[in-house]
């Protein structure tokens, strides 16, 4: 059931030199900045910097917000992906475009849109505030909303891709044996796309963990309440550079570890 790796073409011999040169040039664009970052890391003070109040508050917030965003993405994104893949309704391609919009939109635009919609004076924010007293901007909930907005598309596109590519004969067989559509989803479909679901969720988490623009625009920046790791890096970069660089190092290491583990799986199942 696990998708097989595409066969590598072994007949072509040596790859053309031009491709190697251009490929390496492309690679250097990604590698050089990290070499620059490594060169600025204050290695001897690293442990002291990473245990400061600012960093531990930001780390706690980042972990909580990114996990919450991942949970919400699973709860809301998987049903949406299923509807997009398995049902036909008018305007489906528009819906598909809308749910992937946060992938290409500058996050700061998303943050501003959230502010106008869910802010205290916003379209939905005002009635919500009057009914429940809940004000999203400048609160930890606001951070969760902003990161979910930016990160959930990763769950949706990964899961939708897996659903569209899966072998539907298993679902058909279950249905002819009398299983309801809900039972088929629960007992057949979800287990079959398990690996894709997992990689979608991990990507969602990684994107949420690194979210900056929508968060600072919608939720603001306050230590202990809305200042996640990327925000701490941003405000620290010009005055507490050592701290900012130390946090950056942690973020690069964590994200790289997660992505290297999952990259093959992601591409092969999506």
């Amino acid at each position: 059931m696990t998708p097989t790796k595409p066969r590598r073409d072994k007949t072509a011999g040596r790859p053309p030199a031009l491709l190697i040169v251009l490929g390496c040039l492309g690679l250097s664009l990604f590698v050089v900045p990290f070499v620059g970052l490594l060169g600025r890391v204050p290695w001897s003070e690293l442990s002291g910097l990473l245990t400061s109040d600012v960093v531990s508050d930001a780390l706690r917030l980042s972990v909580v917000a990114s996990l919450a965003a991942t949970a919400i993405s699973m709860l809301l994104g998987v049903p949406l992906a299923w509807l997009l893949a398995k049902t036909d309704f008018p305007g489906r391609s528009v819906v598909r475009g809308v749910v992937t919009l946060p992938l290409v939109l500058p996050p700061v635009v998303g943050g501003a849109a959230l502010l106008f919609a869910l802010g205290r004076r916003g379209l939905l924010g005002e009635p919500i505030g009057e009914l429940t007293g809940l004000v999203l901007p400048f609160s930890t909930w606001g951070v969760v909303v902003a990161t979910t907005f930016v990160a959930m598309p990763f769950t949706i596109i990964t899961v939708e891709g897996a659903l569209r590519n899966m072998d539907t004969r298993f679902e058909g067989a279950a249905a002819t044996l009398g299983a309801s559509r809900w039972t088929v989803l629960r007992r057949v479909t979800l287990p079959m796309i398990g690996p894709s679901l997992l990689s979608g969720l991990v990507l969602t988490w990684a994107r949420a963990f690194g979210e900056f623009g929508a968060t600072i625009t919608f939720a603001g920046n306050l230590q202990g309440r809305t200042q996640t790791l990327p925000l701490a890096v941003f405000v620290g970069l010009e005055s507490e550079r050592d701290t900012a660089v130390a946090i950056s190092l942690v973020m690069v290491a964590v994200s790289l570890a997660v992505l290297i583990t999952l990259r093959d799986r992601w591409w092969n199942s999506a």
Partner: protein, 272 residues
């Protein structure tokens, strides 16, 4: 007319190792962008414009756009390019070796660091002053009257982050008044703060008088009493690395001239 466009991008890929560990590698990223800008037609051949790269604090955006136009009208052979941003980011770019000709900062501490690094080609000169105001959404829904209201925890209060000049000045004014603010957000710059106040998402904040004027009624400004007031001083300097020091010093002279000062006054700045 530009006769040529040269693109220079430096990539530093080597590094040295010393006993203590890695030597700092000069990160050329922000610099590369400016190099690309600066490298376009800088030669002084006939019919070729001299380009002047001016790094100016974000709060000078509107005033310097007008100064640029007036200066170019008086000196048609010069093309002024404005590089606007937070004073501390501009300082970092200069310290990283960006080929900037003139630096206009929103406070003296960023300028001092550039001077200490030996990057200047003249003595910094104060060319404008700016005062701070308490800023509230239009109509002042929370009924804010003075700095003391910024301690009210039921209000949503925003300041600039303490790392940027407007945040530093705001904290000094609050300290003068003996007020501990109930801050809900530390915004990265004055514009971000202003946007949130204008949208009504924050009840009050502190920023420059000139910013308040620039929103044209989107927000209300409340004066800070004389004894709690903090003055922001804007220094300007010709940088040591200026590609055409003559033109750069012409620009500095223009800013402090009567004409330049009149433009700044139009935008709410006080003269030094």
């Amino acid at each position: 007319m530009r006769s040529e466009h040269i693109l220079i991008v430096t990539i530093t890929s080597h590094h040295e190792i010393e006993d203590s560990g890695f030597v700092w590698i000069r990160s050329a990223l922000s610099t590369a962008v400016l190099l690309v800008v600066a490298a376009c037609g800088n030669s002084n051949g006939v019919g070729v414009e001299t380009e002047l790269l001016v790094s100016a604090a974000a709060s000078l955006t509107n005033a310097f756009a007008e100064i640029e136009a007036a200066f170019e009208e008086a000196n048609p052979e010069v093309d002024v390019i404005l590089n606007l941003g937070g004073s501390s980011s501009l300082r970092e770019q200069i310290l990283e070796g960006a080929p900037v000709d003139v630096f206009a900062s929103a406070n003296t501490s960023n300028m001092d660091q550039v001077v200490e690094a030996g990057e200047v080609g003249s003595n910094p000169e104060i060319f404008a002053r700016n005062v701070l105001q308490i800023v509230v959404p239009s109509g002042n829904p929370a009924g804010v009257t003075g700095l003391a209201d910024l301690a009210r925890s039921e209000l949503l209060i925003g300041l600039c982050a303490e790392q940027v000049p407007c945040g530093d000045f705001a904290r000094r004014a609050l300290a003068n008044a003996g007020v501990t603010p109930a801050i809900d957000t530390n915004e990265p710059d004055a514009r971000a703060l202003l946007t949130k106040i204008e949208a009504g998402e924050l009840d009050a904040g502190i920023t420059y008088l000139t910013d308040v004027a620039s929103t044209e009624g989107g927000v209300d400004g409340i004066d800070i009493p004389e004894d709690e007031k903090v003055l922001a001083e804007y220094p300007i300097v010709l940088l040591a690395g200026a590609s055409s020091p003559d033109v750069a010093s012409l620009f500095v002279e223009f800013v402090v001239s009567e004409q330049g000062q009149a433009i700044l006054a139009d935008h709410g700045f006080a003269s030094p």
